[in-house]
């Protein structure tokens, strides 16, 4: 699902990622960990093509991101689901509309968008809050809405950047259970987090970044 070959990312004189190589197979559940500033978010931004690597190759969901024309990025992103620490919900739309809007934006009919949004909100157990606005629901519920939105396009790969960063441990575990269920259904999941307790509790393969480099001792498998 993800193949990363000697990827480096520089911002001027600052090197955010240095010679990163790894592979994540389809259906895996992998944590990306490291201290703040290690490069986790930078790597995720490369994976969903918000930026291009300075050097190296990235193959995600069968697409070479370095050579992908910009006009194909929207279609590529429909294969992904993205979840963020700050939820990125639209404040003046209801919970339901936050999810349904994605369907409309990628070309589903109105009826289809409504149906999928209802199903996904039920899946993440927020259907009772569907007509409320994001500010009216808890942080844990907002993150579940965000996950439902990420699943609207039935993505093959779910990328989550510190999804439990703003949540208490109990809510964080709830979110991890949802990710586990998503993974069980066949979606590859990559979660970036610095929460060691969370990683220890879930017990999955871990990629560890330190100052922009992959700690090879902690990597279970790499591209040779």
């Amino acid at each position: 699902m993800i193949r990363c070959f000697h990827v480096t990312k520089r911002y001027g004189a600052i090197t955010a990622l240095t010679d990163i190589s790894f592979q994540i197979d389809e259906g895996e559940f992998v944590f990306l960990t490291g201290q703040s500033g290690a490069g986790k978010t930078t790597l995720l931004r490369l994976l969903y093509r918000a930026e291009l690597p300075t050097s190296g190759q990235l193959i995600v969901a069968g697409r070479n991101l370095a050579t992908m024309p910009r006009r194909q990025v929207p279609r590529f992103r429909r294969r992904l689901g993205l979840v963020f620490q700050d939820f990125k919900l639209i404040e003046d739309r209801t919970v339901f509309d936050n999810v349904a809007l994605v369907g409309l934006a990628v070309g589903f009919s109105f009826t289809e968008s409504q149906r999928r949004a209802s199903e996904l909100l039920r899946l993440v157990d927020v259907d009772g809050r569907a007509q409320l606005f994001p500010a009216q629901v808890s942080g844990g519920e907002q993150q579940r809405v965000s996950i439902a939105r990420a699943l609207m396009t039935a993505p093959k790969l779910l990328l989550a950047d510190e999804p439990t960063g703003n949540l208490d441990p109990e809510r964080a575990n709830e979110i991890m259970r949802i990710f586990h269920a998503i993974n069980q259904s066949g979606t590859t999941v990559l979660v970036a987090t610095h929460d060691a307790d969370l990683i220890g509790t879930v017990g999955r393969r871990t990629l560890t970044l330190e100052a922009g480099r992959l700690n090879t001792l902690a990597v279970a498998s790499q591209v040779s």
């Binding site: 929207p74 992103r77 429909r78 639209i90 003046d92 994605v102």
Partner: protein, 302 residues
């Protein structure tokens, strides 16, 4: 994405956005309306004047003025010459006194001028209506030149000459209107662009999210284009309502006893083509404003 779904999404989002920002959108609509009232006003005046000139041209009148002190036999000879011409539909003699009476009716404010003059300066004339087939400059010129050679005739004047000069004036008026209206329209476009730019910044998070979930740029920007088009459409409809009201007031003024000459104008509102052009201009102004606003959207998360 299917075209119907795309349009429904864009216009649905645009209407939602407009409903939420009525005050800001109103300013753009009003400025567009104002610019189109200026432009449309000049076009309306020139449209009606052109109509008047067209009807005047269609009358095909030639006026043969008799010299002061003409004799009855000279008058009869001219009448016979006119009658014999196959190009003539009808003609009548207008005495100097009749000419003075008509002048007082047409120019009520100036009618008293004749009273102060010792003599009536207006000459007698034959007013001739030419057959339709001969209502062209070449034929009228030939007729006028022939009649001018008759004894007792001072001059023969056909309307086209005057009409041509007036048409130059009308075209000039239209040009001034286009320039003035164009300047105000540019201001309207800039205002629309600023209103939509504010909207783009306000919807920043939504734009970022749409791009992250895989919406194409046409979807991201479509709603803003639709909003600009709607603002332009509303502005043009508003302008047409104002112009129609002005036209109705003008008609009421004329029919209620305004200057008789004005009755010749037969005030008319825009025809379908001009109507559609003004609407199109308003929509275009809104669209251009929206396109100019995209600089703000371009800097957001891609």
């Amino acid at each position: 994405m299917r075209a119907d779904r795309y349009l429904k999404l864009c216009f649905g989002e645009a209407l939602r956005g407009l409903a939420g920002r009525r005050r800001a959108a109103s300013s753009a609509v009003l400025i567009i309306a104002l610019s189109l009232v200026v432009l449309g006003g000049f076009l309306l005046v020139s449209h009606n004047l052109n109509g008047l000139l067209h009807r005047w041209r269609e009358r095909g009148h030639v006026q043969v003025f008799l010299e002061p002190g003409f004799t009855v036999s000279q008058q009869q000879a001219v009448a016979d010459a006119i009658r014999e011409s196959p190009e003539i539909d009808s003609f009548r003699f207008m005495s100097a006194d009749e000419a003075a009476t008509q002048f007082r009716n047409d120019f009520q404010e100036l009618g008293d001028l004749l009273t102060f003059l010792e003599e009536n300066p207006l000459p007698a004339s034959f007013v001739i209506t030419v057959r339709e087939r001969s209502r062209n400059e070449g034929a009228l010129l030939t007729l006028a030149e022939n009649w001018e050679t008759l004894p007792g005739v001072d001059a023969a004047q056909y309307d086209l000459e005057v009409i041509r000069r007036l048409e130059l004036g009308v075209n000039g008026l239209r040009f001034v209107g286009i320039v003035l209206g164009g300047v105000v329209l540019i201001a309207a476009i800039i205002t629309t662009a600023n209103v939509i730019r504010v909207l783009v910044v306000a919807r920043r998070r939504e734009i970022i999210v749409l791009r992250l979930v895989g919406a194409t740029e046409s979807v991201v920007r479509g709603r803003f284009l639709a909003e600009g088009a709607i603002q332009g459409f509303l502005g043009s409809v508003f302008a047409l309502m104002i112009l129609y009201a002005i036209c109705r007031i003008g008609v009421s003024f004329v029919t209620a006893g305004g200057p008789p000459l004005l009755s010749l104008v037969e005030l008319q509102f825009f025809n379908v083509v001009l109507f559609a052009q003004l609407i199109g201009l308003g929509v275009a102004a809104g669209l251009i404003g929206a396109l100019l606003a995209f600089g703000a959207a371009d800097s957001l998360e891609q």
